[in-house]
Symmetry: C5
Subunit: 246 residues, 5 copies
């Protein structure tokens, strides 16, 4: 029953799909939301895996109500973004990875997985390194993305997705950036976009917004994270405002 | 095994089905019970999903004992109402949504999902907005129902039903009304009926009762909510009075 | 695998089956045990549902060891009794209802479900009312059994059995009697037999024993209830005396 | 997948199988271990049910490592013994009973189930009574084994095995002996052998060892019981000495 | 879905596979990591069982990200090593044993299982004994490996693997070494290699490194064990440094 449902017909060549699930520092979510805005992307598909909370999301001033995990498309940039309004249930990350990878593996899509790595803030910008599966590593090599300077493990839903990509030999890259361990970190997201996603998509992506409104984004995403957690835990039917920044 | 069982043959055109599961402020339950009374509706079907407590309900002065979740019909008004005497098990909302939507999706029925949104009581009546899936949104647009003024998420069994409707592209609407966060809120139910259900059904529905006996309803529904919770948790076979208002 | 196993061949016409599972006041169990004694009934079948504790029961001075839930038969009175030495696991009442009703529904048997309803002891004997499914209600109507004087819900394994009977449209009756909320209540069982079961079976059933040895029965059933609970919770293989009254 | 695996070909007529799972007083385990020694029995089969801890057992001075639940054979005495080095998981006794009885029921084997019943030590030796399923009761009758003097219930894995034997109508006997409720009770095992197993096998079995080294056995079995419990709970891979008496 | 995936084609004769799952003293993990280094082994296969944490591991200075449990090969030495960066979920050891043994049993591979046995450190080096299944015991006999001096049980994932090997009659050996009960114990790993693995592989394996850098290894493995546990428990997507010694 779990599956990805495409709602419109869109043509791609060898698109990148940037994964933006909530994780440490919300680095992936902030980057993914930013891309959807900057590229003015359209809804392409919705994701219906058992491990995702069966809730319905609506947006300020819009009439349509939607599932919480969606894929947006910018066909001109050959780009897809996985956007999520809810966290993946921790005990079911394997199911999510199976469900989503089953859709990915039948398509000529290179996934770009994004992960934060908790680190103290210093004077220099957050460091980023990249690893890959299949031909993903070679692609990072060409672009000169840093190699990891010490061994590490990626866990959670993103770790499960990379694990599956490695198992299936799919082409994918995983970008790991130093991040604030507790709070949303727009600067880390900026690094992911400038030094990872932008070169991979081969399009200049403006990050002005992330820099200028960093404090604002941080606050709003923090509220969002609290609400997401709450919505997931609610037993009673009810609507709750999300007050999300988008 | 989970299914909806129709007990009588009734002819409909393109009926509305008003969902009245217990949720915040019991706004859906109060509205649904009111509609069953006002339209003098007859039992049409009973709902047998795994996620519903397997209890038996009887009513004052009536000989028949029934399952706790039932669909009532008013064929003249082309109207169906989903009435529930028990809450849906929180951990099984997905199963309920699958089970009930499987029945809905094969029929030309437009579901009207009802949800409260916790808000402080003010001087003005509770605000209501509506969102939709499939052609549901357009229908609200024609009737001039308010758009959401901020983003939000619908959770619980009702959220799961809307989620499924969005996935399947079914025509449905979800009406969200501000509600007392803790106590049954007949005034919020009145707003749902006057500004949402009445225009959708295109029949004037009297809400006098909800206005005049608001305090009475509030008290009785509160007792009911307590009993419902208790009946669900009981391990030992026993009968318990419900003291419900209907 | 779950099923009812018939051990002997017995001919019935349209038998009643009196359900005697442990519940509030043990009203069903006391009534069922009394019927087995009074009619000198023989073992007819054993019940093997997943939700029943897999223990083995033996009786004082008898050589055969048996499963804990059994059906006894009195073919001359066209009567069956469901007798249980263990409670049904609360979290699995649905499975029990499915398992047992699967056997019932293929036979021309009218089930008589028995439930206590907690009430304070007064001067008058406990009140009893009856509700039904299928043709069961009409049968009670003919016999003049009281209607419920307020709405209520039957929960636990007995509630699940009635729920299933309502779903399937089987002929059944449910007799609800006021009962001591905490202790075994032989007087409530007497009311069930005198005003409900006796008229339904259309045979005078002596209840002298229940009246004369009420205190004795109460004490012994209380010991039994404690033992039943303990046996269900035991992890280690062992035998335990039941000290049951039969 | 669950099954019993026979490792050698042995011919039997209508063998007895003595069950020696750990239970109250370890009465079955002590008796079974004693029989394996006295008859100098050989490994015949290993038992692989889901409910058994998947651990590996090795013995002092022996090279082969084995599963923890095994069947030993003495073809000359037409005798099998079920020996276990681990307890059965309490929540899975039904699975064990299904798994083991599936093997039993296809063979012409009469099972002898052994159970302790907690009782205070008195001056006279522990009392024992026997009950049966199928033709098992008649066999006990011929041998003059005592009938139960009060009703009782056998629970745990042994109770589940007897329950299944009753359901399937298999020939089996269950011997119940008074036992120390907390500590290993070699005297109770002696009574089982002398007054139950020995007459059933129709061979004189020396119990001298159980009498002379009772204190020694009690201590060693107590250590074993502690170790068994610990091994079952261990999460980390490791080896642990069993210091068992055999 | 659970399976072992071979990534390259390698020819073997009758290879040994040394199992290096984390357990008491990390004796197996330290030995396995050492063998991978000493023989300069190449990645041969990755292990994808349900019971393994679905995380992704990357190594200092390397571009490829990998599943956490992998098989390395040294075809010249006819040797395979099972290396793991994560512990096996304790409640799913049976699944792991089934999953991995399904791969083993179809190949002509002799598994060498490694287990620590908690013991106080003394003046003499840790004692080691060996037991086997199938022809494994005979092989140890030829090499003069010590027999167990008291009975014992191997539990955890390694115990489950040995249990399955015994059930299936596969050729395997289990080496049990005395180990520090709480801390990583490189000396115990040295004993496993010198007195067990080296004779079995019939190749001299240098253990200098394990002796000279024992303290260093102990510390680094301790950090690793802490990290492994943490990564397994993390619910949020994130990357974490492993700081592993390899």
């Amino acid at each position: 029953m779990a599956h990805v449902k495409e709602h419109v017909d869109v043509e791609f060549e060898n698109p990148l799909l940037v994964e933006g699930l909530p994780g440490v520092g919300l680095v992936g979510k902030i980057a993914a939301d930013h891309l959807v805005d900057e590229f003015d992307m359209d809804l392409y598909a919705t994701v219906h895996c058992e491990s995702l909370a069966p809730v319905a999301v609506y947006h300020d001033g819009e009439r349509d109500v939607q599932p919480p995990v969606r894929i947006y498309a910018a066909p001109d940039a050959d780009l897809l973004v996985l956007q999520s309004d809810v966290p993946v249930n921790a005990e079911a990350v394997r199911e999510f990875a199976d469900c989503f990878t089953a859709w990915l593996s039948g398509r000529d899509v290179t996934a770009v997985y994004l992960s934060g790595m908790a680190a103290k803030k210093g004077d220099s910008p957050p460091a980023m390194h990249g690893v890959g599966t299949g031909e993903g590593g070679a692609r990072l090599e060409e672009l000169g993305v840093d190699l990891p300077s010490e061994s590490g493990v990626i866990s959670g839903p993103t770790g499960a997705l990379v694990n599956r990509a490695a198992e299936e030999g799919l082409d994918s890259v995983a970008l790991v950036v130093e991040s604030d361990p507790q709070f949303p970190d727009p600067e880390a997201s900026r690094v992911l976009i400038e030094h990872g996603i932008s070169p991979l998509v081969d399009v200049e992506v403006s990050v002005e917004d992330l820099v200028e409104h960093a404090e604002d984004i941080r606050e709003k995403k923090e509220q969002l994270a609290a609400k997401m957690q709450q919505a997931k835990d609610e037993e009673t039917s009810q609507a709750q405002p999300l007050r999300m920044y988008q």
